[in-house]
Every structure is written in structure tokens, then in C-alpha cells.
């Protein structure tokens, strides 16, 4: 399984350590508290789902970890380094809600972009891109350009690109948000498999409860105004997440637990099939 091997699976330090983080947008007077008093530790290889309604700061938290924004106060460490250093060292791969592919590049060239920017020799990055195109099931489309692909295919290219440098940490901001339900479930299965095989830690932002439960080892529930973590729920459904899990009672039980945590009160099961 060398193709999935990460840089360092047995990292002793946690993948992400967030301590007392606060993020305020805007100036005094019109300031908006996007995050308040957030503490979160993500172990190496752990899969975390961040869930919550719009405006709860889950995307903001992910952007802080990615060093796309700086916290107003508090510290963020990624593999024991500052978030900025981790970004400069390319310790994480990232995928956004929009695929964000460069339209003039083919599938393979899009996947190889980070490798190309970091001076990986041509032959090596071509081989890696080829390998990843197969992994996300786009082998036949390797020379297509983004406008010739469906939204789901574009998103798969973006995920392949995020994996290109074998990161020990994957940051994903609603990567399946724009996909139809069927594609979405297939992508979730793929991601569960990839995450398991690569041993990378994953921070997965979503507002779909089943998606969060199906994928994560731990679901972090957030609430808005001000954005904060209200609850953290373990999802002890095992290392591997086979398709059949979606039909199991344990799965529904965790879904209900997350829903209750989100709504802050017990929810009747009547609506469940």
C-alpha cells in the first residue's frame, strides 16, 4: 500500500491543537465574533467532522487551521508547529466546496499542480498524478479539461489534488456540498476508504448529519452567535466504514445523538424510516 503511505503515520504530536482561539471579524462597533473560546485537539490519523448551522464558524475554524486567516487570539498548532509554518511546509492538503480547478489545465495537470509548484521532477509528478486519477476513478478522463467534467468529477479531481503530496492532514470544507445525493454517498465511501488507507488526519466541515457520522471518528458540534463548540461526540463505528453501515441501527443511533446535540434537546424518532 505504498501509494497511500503518508509522510509520517506515527506522529507523536497531535495533528492539530487549537487552544483558546477567538476570531473577530470587523472593527470595534461592528465587530462580529465568529469564534469564541475554541479548544480542540485532533490526534494524528483521526477523522473529525465539524458540524453546525450556517454562521457557526466551522469554515472559519478550518481556515484558521489552514492559515488562510489568523486568529484574533489563542494559538493553533499543526503537528507541533505554527499554522503558518505548517502551511509553508505543506503539511496539509485542502479541498473546498468549489473544486477550484484551473480551467486551462487537464485533469492530470490539475492534480499535479501542487507537486509542480514544489519542484517535484516531471516524471515523478506525472506518475503520482496518474496514480491519483485512478484512485478517484478518473483514469479515462486524465486529459480532459474541467469544463468537460461533471461537478462530481471536478470535485474528485480536487480531492486527488489535495492528496497529491501525501499530507498527514486533510482539510475539507464541505467538499461534497454541491453534489447530488448519489454521487455524494459514493464520494463519502471513497473518502472513508482513502482516509483509512492513508492514515491521514481529516478535518471535515459539513452540515449534513449522516455525512458527519458516516465519516468521522469524532463529530464536533458547533453553534452560532458566537461560534463555539457545544459538544463533541465519539462515533465508535470502527476503523473501516463500509456502505452497509448506513443501514445499521448503530449508525442511526449516532445520527440521532448528533441531531439532539445540534438542536440542544432530545428529538423524537418518529421521522426516521
Amino acid at each position: 500500500m505504498s501509494q497511500f503511505a503518508t509522510k509520517d503515520v506515527q506522529a507523536p504530536t497531535p495533528a492539530v491543537r487549537v487552544v483558546g482561539v477567538e476570531k473577530t471579524f470587523g472593527r470595534r462597533g461592528k465587530a462580529v465574533k465568529a469564534l469564541l473560546d475554541v479548544d480542540l485537539t485532533i490526534a494524528a490519523g483521526e477523522f473529525i467532522s465539524l458540524i453546525g448551522p450556517s454562521g457557526c464558524g466551522k469554515s472559519t475554524l478550518m481556515r484558521l487551521i489552514a492559515d488562510l486567516d489568523a486568529p484574533t487570539s489563542g494559538t493553533i498548532e499543526v503537528f507541533g508547529k505554527s499554522a503558518r509554518q505548517a502551511r509553508l511546509d505543506q503539511d496539509y492538503g485542502i479541498a473546498f466546496q468549489q473544486a477550484g480547478l484551473l480551467p486551462w489545465r487537464t485533469v492530470l495537470k490539475n492534480i499535479a499542480l501542487p507537486l509542480e509548484l514544489h519542484g517535484v521532477p516531471y516524471a515523478e509528478r506525472a506518475a503520482r498524478a496518474e496514480e491519483l486519477a485512478l484512485l478517484v476513478g478518473l483514469g479515462e478522463f486524465r486529459d480532459h479539461r474541467p469544463d468537460q467534467l461533471s461537478g462530481g468529477m471536478q470535485q474528485r479531481v480536487a480531492i486527488a489534488r489535495a492528496l497529491a503530496e501525501r499530507p498527514r492532514l486533510l482539510l475539507m470544507d464541505e467538499p461534497f456540498g454541491a453534489l447530488d445525493e448519489m454521487t455524494r454517498e459514493r464520494m463519502q465511501n471513497e473518502l472513508a476508504r482513502i482516509a483509512h488507507q492513508s492514515g491521514a488526519a481529516v478535518v471535515f466541515v459539513t452540515h449534513s448529519i449522516p455525512e458527519a457520522v458516516f465519516l468521522a471518528d469524532r463529530v464536533v458540534v458547533m453553534s452560532p452567535r458566537p461560534g463555539r463548540i457545544t459538544e463533541t461526540l465519539d462515533v465508535p463505528l470502527g476503523e473501516e466504514r463500509p456502505e452497509g453501515l448506513r443501514e445499521s441501527p448503530e449508525f442511526f443511533e449516532r445520527v440521532t445523538a448528533v441531531r439532539e446535540a445540534l438542536h440542544g434537546a432530545p428529538v423524537r424518532r418518529a421521522g426516521e424510516a
Binding site: 488562510l68 485542502i94 473546498f96 486551462w104 514544489h118 467534467l149
Partner: protein, 296 residues
């Protein structure tokens, strides 16, 4: 299929011009229509329709036939060959002007994109520069060119003409390239930040490719401007050898040889078509940079 249709429309347009010209010539009064003329006073009143006699409006076939006659009684070269030679001179100057304009325009755009303050400081001057009339600027450029010490640097007159052409050409390129360099969406810029790519890498891998769809139309405008600039500068600097001078020279013979001035005009049209066609070809070569990403 769509291609054939476009060519058909193009041909129809040409046919329409021919029909208008010859049609009006056939039905219009030979002396045109003048309103408000005072009896016995020459040149009074307003001519609202032009004369249709052979001196004012030669037949199209006369114009074409003139291309295959000798240039002038003293010059046995066929007219089309003289026009071709002059057109090549002007085309070369226009191409040089376009190249200079492309370099200067792109550099200005790069500077303006890199420093916000440069955009505020430079862009108004770039726009202002285009309000100076070409015929005012051309003689100034000419006298500067004449004053340059020929022993230090040879400065032929055609170089001054090319500078004037570039003066018209750089403007659309500067504005178009600036828009293009600023075009990448936030998501793409953040991606480059995620990859810890520096300003130069971002420029090379993201901004420049993203600017192509903006630069191509600007280039088409610039090419047309360069041709116009070259022709007008040739005229106002009295530079011999180019199509501009030929238009003026033959226009003065129009009373004795009415179809003659049309020969260099055809030549000028051909230069314009070649300029626009070259940019179109460039667009075909760069077609992969003109794709839009389909939204998910």
C-alpha cells in the same frame, strides 16, 4: 456547420456593400442632391446625397481593373504590386508598433497589478494619454526623431512611425491585461497561498494564464489601432514608401484617374484584415486558456 454559416454571413455582407454602391450609383442623380442652394451661388446649400458620376463614384469593376493597370504613366509597375509593396512596409511598421505596444502595455499592467498605488498613480495617465490627438503628437515625435543624434543611434523615420503606432496600441493592452491579471477568483488565489506559492509563481501559473481571455480582445483592438496609427503617422510625417503616403498621393490624382485612390484603400483594408486575422489565429493557438470552468 456554424462555421459555414459565419462565412456565408460574411460573404453576404460583402455582397450588400457591392449592391449598395452600384445600386445607388445606378439610381442616384449624377450631381447628387443639394438642398437650400442659392441660385447662381457656387457651393451654396447642403449636399445630402453624393454625386454618382464616374469621377466621384467609380464603378467597382473600374477600381478592380485599375489594380491591374500600371501604377502611373511614368511607372510601369502594375498597381497591385505597388500597393502590395507599400502595404508590406506599413504592415511591418504596424507589427513593430504592436510589438512595442504589447511589451509596454504588459509591463504597465504588471506594475499596476503588483502595486495598488501604481494603479492609482499610473492608470489616469494611461487614460489621459489617449486623449492627445494623434495628428498633434505625430509631428512632435517626428521632430524628436530627427533630433536624435544619428551617430550614436540610427533613427530612421519608420521607427518614429512605429512609436506612434505603439502609442495607440499599448492602451487597450495595458487596460485589458490589468483586468486579466486581476481576474483570478479568490478561491484560486487562496489555493496558491495554500501551496505557499510566491508572487512570481502565482503570476506565472495563475494570473498570466487567467489573463489570456482578457488580453486577446485587447490585442485585436490594439492591432487595429496599430494599423491606423501607422497609416496616420505616415501621412502626417510624410514618410514615403508606405500605404499612407500612397493614399494621399493618389487622392490628389482622383480628378484625372478616379479609381486610382481606391487601390491603396484596398491595400489598407487588407492590412487590417491580416492584423485582425493574426490575432484570431493566436486565439486558436491559445484556445485552452479560454475555457470557462463549468460550475458544479
Amino acid at each position: 456547420m456554424r462555421r459555414t454559416l459565419l462565412w456565408t454571413y460574411g460573404a453576404l455582407g460583402l455582397v450588400a456593400v457591392v449592391l449598395l454602391w452600384e445600386g445607388y450609383k445606378a439610381i442616384g442623380p449624377a450631381d447628387g442632391v443639394v438642398v437650400g442652394a442659392v441660385e447662381g451661388e457656387r457651393g451654396s446649400g447642403f449636399r445630402i446625397l453624393p454625386r454618382t458620376n464616374d469621377r466621384s463614384m467609380p464603378h467597382l469593376w473600374a477600381m478592380v481593373a485599375r489594380l491591374f493597370a500600371v501604377t502611373s504613366p511614368g511607372d510601369p509597375t502594375p498597381m497591385w504590386l505597388s500597393v502590395l509593396q507599400a502595404a508590406l512596409v506599413t504592415l511591418g511598421i504596424a507589427a513593430l508598433g504592436l510589438a512595442i505596444g504589447l511589451v509596454i502595455g504588459s509591463l504597465l499592467a504588471l506594475v499596476m497589478q503588483s502595486w495598488r498605488i501604481a494603479e492609482w498613480g499610473v492608470l489616469p495617465w494611461v487614460i489621459l494619454s489617449q486623449t492627445i490627438p494623434l495628428i498633434a503628437f505625430a509631428p512632435v515625435m517626428n521632430s524628436i526623431g530627427v533630433q536624435i543624434d544619428k551617430t550614436i543611434m540610427p533613427w530612421p523615420q519608420w521607427l518614429s512611425v512605429a512609436i506612434i503606432a505603439s502609442y495607440l496600441a499599448f492602451f487597450p493592452i495595458a487596460v485589458g491585461a490589468l483586468r486579466g491579471l486581476q481576474a483570478p477568483e479568490r478561491a484560486h488565489l487562496e489555493l496558491m497561498r495554500v501551496y505557499a506559492a510566491g508572487g512570481f509563481t502565482t503570476l506565472r501559473k495563475l494570473r498570466i494564464p487567467a489573463a489570456v481571455p482578457y488580453v486577446l480582445p485587447a490585442l485585436r483592438l490594439a492591432a487595429a489601432n496599430a494599423v491606423i496609427g501607422a497609416i496616420v503617422a505616415e501621412v502626417s510625417m510624410s514618410m514615403p514608401g508606405g500605404i499612407g503616403r500612397m493614399i494621399i498621393g493618389l487622392a490628389s490624382q482622383a480628378s484625372t484617374d478616379p479609381p486610382a485612390p481606391w487601390s491603396p484603400i484596398f491595400g489598407a483594408v487588407a492590412i487590417g484584415l491580416i492584423a485582425a486575422g493574426s490575432v484570431g489565429l493566436l486565439g486558436v493557438i491559445l484556445r485552452n486558456y479560454r475555457r470557462g470552468e463549468a460550475t458544479a
